[in-house]
Subunit: 232 residues, 2 copies
C-alpha cells in the first residue's frame, strides 16, 4: 500500500499523537539503549543526546532519573517476575529455583542497566518497585518450597539472592563483550554452593534493613535528584 | 626538642627534599585516599584537588593514570603476593587456599580502588604488574597443591579466582558501609562451591585470553591515556 493510502475498510485515522507523547517515546527508547550499554550511571544528558531532544525537553518529560528508570525497566521487571512465576509452577521446586537463578542472571548479562536495577532500589519508581515487591514475595515462597524438598540448604536467606545479583553485576560489568558467558560459570558455582547438605556454616547474612540501605545508596548518583530545571 | 634544634649526635641535616618530590608524595597520598573511597574511576582532577596541587603539576608528575595507579598500589599488590606466600607456607594446602581467599577478599573490601585493581590489568603499571605476575605464579602452585590433597575440585581453574574477584568487587561496591561484612558470606559461599567433590559439572571457564581482554577493558576510562598537557 502506498504511503497515505487508506484501505477502504480501515478505521478512520487516529489523531496525530502529540509532540509530547512522541518525545516521551523517543526518550524511553533512547534510555533503553543507553542504559543497556552503559548501566544506570549514564547521564540524563547522554540519554537526551541519543534521543535527539534538548535537555529541557528531557527534564519536562522525566523530572527525575527515577521516573525514567521506572518507564524503561517496569516491563523488564515484569519479565523478571514472570521468571519467578515459572519457577513456582515447576513441580520440582529445586529445579524451578535453579532455573530462576539462571534466568535472572541471564537478564542481568543481557542488559547492564537491568543488572544495576537488581542491585538498587528506586523508591520513586512506583511501578517498578511494586513489581519487584510482587516478585520478592514469590521468591520467598519458592525458597520455602525448595527447602521443604531438602535440596536447598536450610540456612539460605532471601538476601542471598540479592548478594548473588550484586556479585553477578560485578562479573557482567567486568567481563562484558570480552567474555560474555563467564557469568554462567559464576551462577553455577553459586547454585552448587546453595545446594543441601551445606558444606559448612556461613557468616551471618547482612540484616535486611542494612541491605536495603545498601541498595538505596547503590542507586546511581542523581537517580532521585530533582531536575535542575523543571520549567526548561 | 625545639624546632630547628639539632641534637649534638644527630647526622648533618638532609638537604631539603625538592618541590617535585614533595608534590609527588602529596599526590600519591591523596590518590591513595581518593581511590580507596571512590575506586579507580575517580578522575585525575579529583586527586589533584585532594592533593592541593594544580592539574598541570599533577600531569607533570604522573603523565598517565596508569603511572599513578602503579605508584599507589604496587605496595598493596606486595601485600597480596604476601597472602599467597603465607598460603603456600601452610602445611595444609586447602587450609592455605581458603585463608588466601579470605585475605584477598578482605583486601578488596578494605579498599574499593584495590578491588578494582584485582579485576583489571594496567600494562603501563610496570611494578604493579610484575608483582601481580609473581602472585599469579604462586597461586597456580597453590591450586595444584590443593588439588593434590583432594580438597579442591578437579575442574577448578585459576581464572575462577579472577571471576571471584570480579564478583566480590560487585558486592563490595554495592554494599559499602551499609553492609560492610556482606562480602564474608559471599566469599564463604564461593569457597564451599570450590570444595571437592564437585556437586556437578560447570560451564566452561572463559578462555584466559578473553579474560585478559576483559581485564584490559575494565581498566577505568582514561587509565592509560596520555595526559592532555604534558608540558603544563
Amino acid at each position: 500500500m502506498t504511503p497515505g493510502a487508506q484501505h477502504p475498510d480501515a478505521p478512520a485515522p487516529q489523531p496525530l499523537r502529540s509532540d509530547a507523547e512522541r518525545n516521551r517515546e523517543r526518550i524511553v527508547a533512547a534510555a533503553r539503549k543507553v542504559f543497556a550499554r552503559d548501566g544506570l550511571g549514564a547521564s540524563m544528558a547522554s540519554v537526551a543526546r541519543e534521543a535527539g531532544v534538548g535537555i529541557a525537553t528531557m527534564f519536562r518529560r522525566f523530572p527525575t532519573k527515577e521516573e525514567l528508570v521506572d518507564a524503561v525497566f517496569a516491563d523488564r521487571m515484569d519479565a523478571y517476575a514472570q521468571a519467578v512465576a515459572v519457577a513456582l509452577d515447576d513441580p520440582d521446586p529445586w529445579h524451578g529455583f535453579v532455573g530462576y537463578i539462571e534466568a535472572a542472571c541471564a537478564m542481568q548479562a543481557a542488559d547492564v542497566g537491568f543488572a544495576d536495577v537488581l542491585t538498587a532500589v528506586f523508591p520513586g519508581a512506583k511501578a517498578l518497585e511494586r513489581r519487584r515487591d510482587e516478585a520478592y514475595e514469590g521468591m520467598v515462597r519458592l525458597i520455602g518450597r525448595a527447602k521443604e524438598t531438602g535440596r536447598l540448604r536450610e540456612d539460605f536467606d532471601p538476601s542471598d539472592l540479592v548478594l548473588l545479583h550484586m556479585a553477578n553485576a560485578g562479573v557482567v560489568s567486568s567481563t562484558g563483550d570480552a567474555a560474555p558467558d563467564a557469568w554462567r560459570r559464576v551462577a553455577a558455582l553459586f547454585t552448587q554452593s546453595f545446594e543441601a547438605p551445606a558444606r559448612g556454616p556461613l557468616p551471618a547474612s547482612p540484616r535486611h534493613e542494612a541491605l536495603y540501605q545498601a541498595m538505596l545508596r547503590t542507586a546511581p548518583a542523581g537517580a532521585g535528584a530533582p531536575a535542575p530545571d523543571k520549567k526548561g
